[in-house]
Amino acid sequence: MEKSVERYNYRSNITIDWCPGCGNFGIVSAVTQALTDMKMDPKDVVAVSGIGCSGKTPHYLNIAGAHTLHGRSIPYAVGVKLANPNLNVLVMGGDGDLLSIGAGHLVAEGRRNSGIVVLLYNNAVYGLTKGQAAPTMPLNEKVKSIPRPNILDKINPVALAMTSGYSFVARGFSSEIKQLSMLIERAMKHKGSAIIEILQPCPTYNDVNTLDWFRKRVYKLEDDKTWNPVVNDKSEEEEKFNKGYNLSLKWGDKIPIGIFYENNTVPSFPERLSKIVPDYIKYPPSDQDVSDKDGYTIVDPIKTFIEKEIE
């Protein structure tokens, strides 16, 4: 994160093929804004996505991009991050991607805390497969793309992320670009794993949670100057966690956006690994020489696995 660039265009020149009015446009703007503000070297940021409308995002950014498999963006991102902990890794995933088929990985990442930043695009539907209910759609809700009211209940992404152990948890809104870019920047600067639920209108399929619907409801947590969700000392943990969690359950006429919880006392996985794996940060797996100048192994199998030798 030390390298930095001036005046770089973080948007690629690929035509965006999202529907007109899609909230994803705002997300792209917020991401490029954050990268611009941070003067991020494009080689140092990797965008990892799954499959869905959301999954197309990396192609629209002029940074390294991996558009992977439905539900598996987190494992890919963690692979990149742990093999090269010096990279900034952003996950861009749909609510179906991360909370349905990928929910197991989302939960597991809380325990790992690898230091990735997860952007969860919440449009309450499966966009790319034509509008089926996503796990963020409440029971009995009826949007235009489903033939009858939703028979499954919703999961609360902020509450789930907190319960799973993410050490930075926030919610943004795709039309509040300035706040969202601030949230992304904060998340990227946070050492452990961060997640930002992003409320995102899908005008094509979701005619309930529309742009206006959100506009009327969202309010910013940071507008309350007494709101301080940051834990820098274990003693504050329980209280701030409970506050953030209980707040996350609020949904209805007023929807809070902003940071719900940030805990700086939980070591990240790279920090944990550094204690075991020699020179992990200096020479991570991505950056090692594995052969000598003649091309032969540099590992001493006997010394490494010493107890196995006879004589």
């Binding site: 390294a64 494992p75 093999a83 794996v277 991570p284 000598d292 032969y296 490494t304 696995f305």
Partner: protein, 632 residues
């Protein structure tokens, strides 16, 4: 004097220290200048069920196991029943005096099905359904039961107890004493076996003394064992060998989810993240440790390894059947996006959960065809310890050179074989790296301007590029253009043609033995060394046989295999599965139908006696297909 050739079986309850006994026996014999070869059999159970190690000890390196055994050590009564047919006339059977009163019906841990067949067997011979009955049976075939007062002996030498904890050492120690091994060797064996639990070494040494003293005072006449000079070797299992090979081959990122019989490899690696380097000339190199990640499941393991590979780190994962089934989608992704991924596939008895701790070679066709859609992948297989080491290195090389998933197959028998391997050659396999990208300005991840199909490999952290499992253009962006699609498909598949051209035949298929033999065996995996032994044996009977040994199934060496088989007389396919999968692959690629086969799918390791016997039945035209049944 005939060469020493001892077949030994140590059986007892799972969790009862069979492993330590095996390690100790192996080390002791190796210090006497012998070679050993052993295979472990155990239930999918933590404590209590029957488990055993089948060993063979020779001066020259043994490559197979044989029934009946010459010595059997029974650490519990179950062992006596379970192995009633496995001992030779003359065999010595060491067991605890207290078993004498034991009735078959109280052997709770013998599964009802096995119980029933033992019961029927004893009944049909008019023997009592207890240890007396089974001992009578042994005596009737000429074997020599040797009863020892386990508890009393141990209590005398290790009064602090509990005695049961030392049954294994007592049994193993007695065996060594009877076989004429020096007590010093036995003691060294103990130190090795308990190297990670130094606190118990002393008491175990005392038990060794108990065993030697007992034999000394008894009427048993120890064998006269010749001692040989010791040459340096390493005691390896297949799991160990692959781990070592991977690390030597440059592996720096391994992911896994626990599963038998694969996770021993990952656990070993996890305990050696602190790599020790060779000293010469590596001073200025960038050297670091190995990262091993225990994942939440195999979906995560395969895809996380793919992710790691995107940074340039040599990445791999290891699993067995059920986990491999979950990896199909990730492997298809690696094929599509040209990721160098190595998956070590430890085969166990299938299908489904199957026989989780038993042998099988039934995942071959699945591995070959795994993942939806058409993409290049390599499938290679190892058959002995050395191949495990060097093939693991080569797998990583192939993955890097051809930018595709490589599936490296091992079977459970091999994974759990204990073998003494002469020193590892660090210069045997050169490490080959991916084709580097040196056009950082206008980098095209999937550059089509390539004859061999291989584009330069850029990595995250050094290059900005894109990649996707959708069909893509040279930059890695999604495309649905028809002609680009065709070009990309052809580019990817061309890499397989390149590999087919470049990889030497000895890494793919080998004909062992005389070209013009009466019999041509075909096999792959752990039967390799067994068949090499079998060929030697058959020669003694005047039968000439050779072996077409298969090491690479994709790209398949069709031409070579076709040529060899066209010249063959009686072809016998030997596999540990039911549907003769390698033979099917041969027919698919060459049109040649292999009609005779020796197959085994009961989950146990093949032994040389059953293979030779079956060969003769096939030669006598008694049967075309023989199903092997040895093992408990």
């Amino acid at each position: 004097m005939q060469e020493t050739d001892i077949n030994l079986l140590v059986g007892g309850p799972q969790g009862g220290g069979i492993d330590s006994a095996a390690n100790m026996v192996s080390m002791a014999f190796s210090l006497a200048g012998y070679n050993i070869y052993g295979i472990r059999e155990y239930h999918s159970n933590i404590k209590g069920r029957h488990s055993y190690i089948h060993f063979r000890i020779m001066h020259k390196r043994p490559r197979s196991l044989k029934y009946p055994v010459d010595i059997m050590v029974a650490l519990d009564p179950d062992t006596l029943f379970e192995h009633m047919f496995d001992v030779s006339s003359n065999a010595k059977i060491i067991y605890d005096t207290s078993f004498d009163k034991f009735e078959l019906k109280n052997a709770r841990m013998i599964t009802s099905d096995t119980m029933e067949s033992i019961r029927n067997e004893l009944k049909s011979r008019n023997l009592t359904l207890d240890v007396h009955g089974i001992l009578d049976y042994f005596r009737s075939v000429g074997a020599v039961p040797i009863a020892m007062p386990f508890d009393k002996l141990i209590n005398d030498y290790v009064p602090e107890g509990p005695a049961t904890r030392y049954y294994n050492t007592l049994g193993a120690g007695t065996t060594l004493a009877i076989l004429g091994l020096d007590i010093e060797h036995a003691n060294e064996g103990i130190k090795y076996a308990f190297r990670k639990k130094p606190s118990v070494v002393d008491s175990n040494l005392r038990v060794i003394k108990a065993a030697y003293d007992y034999v000394d005072k008894s009427e048993i006449k120890p064998e006269q064992l010749k001692f040989y000079p010791v040459i340096p070797r390493i005691l390896l299992t297949g799991n160990d060998a692959v781990a070592i090979g991977k690390l030597m081959g440059g592996l720096r990122f391994q992911t896994y989810y626990p599963i038998t019989p694969a996770s021993d490899e990952s656990t070993l690696l996890e305990n050696h993240e602190d790599i020790k380097f060779l000293e010469n000339e590596t001073k200025n190199l960038k050297k670091g440790g190995l990262v091993v990640v225990q994942c939440e499941d195999e979906l995560s393991a395969v895809n996380m390894a793919n992710g790691g590979a995107l940074t340039g780190a040599r990445s791999a994962t290891a699993t067995s059947g059920p986990g491999f089934s979950l990896m199909a989608e990730g492997i298809s992704f690696a094929g599509m996006t040209e990721i160098p991924l190595v998956v070590t596939l430890y085969q166990r008895g299938g299908p489904s959960t199957g026989l989780p701790t038993r042998n099988g070679q039934s995942d071959l066709l699945f591995a070959l065809n795994t993942g939806h859609g058409e993409f290049p992948k390599m499938v290679i297989s190892s058959g002995d310890m050395e191949e495990c080491v060097y093939d693991a290195m080569k797998s990583l090389n192939y993955a890097q050179k051809y930018q595709m998933p490589v599936i490296h197959m091992i079977d459970k028998t091999l994974a759990n074989t204990m073998d003494l391997v002469p020193e590892i050659d660090v210069k045997r396999v050169r490490i080959e790296k991916y084709r580097d990208n040196n056009n950082h300005e206008n980098y095209k991840r999937y550059d089509l301007n390539t004859d061999d199909g291989v584009s330069p490999y850029g990595v995250f952290g050094k290059d900005v590029f894109w990649m996707t499992g959708d069909e893509h253009n040279e930059l890695g962006h999604v495309t649905e253009d028809t002609s680009l699609r065709d070009k990309m498909m052809e580019k990817r598949m061309r890499k397989l043609i390149t590999a087919d051209r470049e990889i030497p035949m000895e890494d793919r298929a080998i004909l062992y033995g005389n070209e013009n033999a009466d019999i041509t065996y075909i096999t792959w995996g752990s039967q390799k060394s067994l068949l090499l032994d079998a060929i030697d044996e058959l020669k003694k009977d005047g039968i000439s046989a050779n072996l077409l040994y298969l090491r690479m199934f994709a790209p398949f060496p069709s031409e070579y295999v076709g040529e060899v088989l066209k010249k063959s007389n009686l072809i016998i396919d030997v596999e540990s599965n039911m549907t003769a999968q390698a033979a099917k692959i041969i027919r698919m690629n060459t049109g040649i139908e292999v009609k005779s086969s020796i197959l085994k799918y009961n989950g146990r390791h093949m032994t040389i006696d059953e293979v030779i016997k079956s060969t003769k039945r096939i030669m006598g035209k008694e049967l075309e297909m023989v199903v092997l049944e040895n093992g408990s």
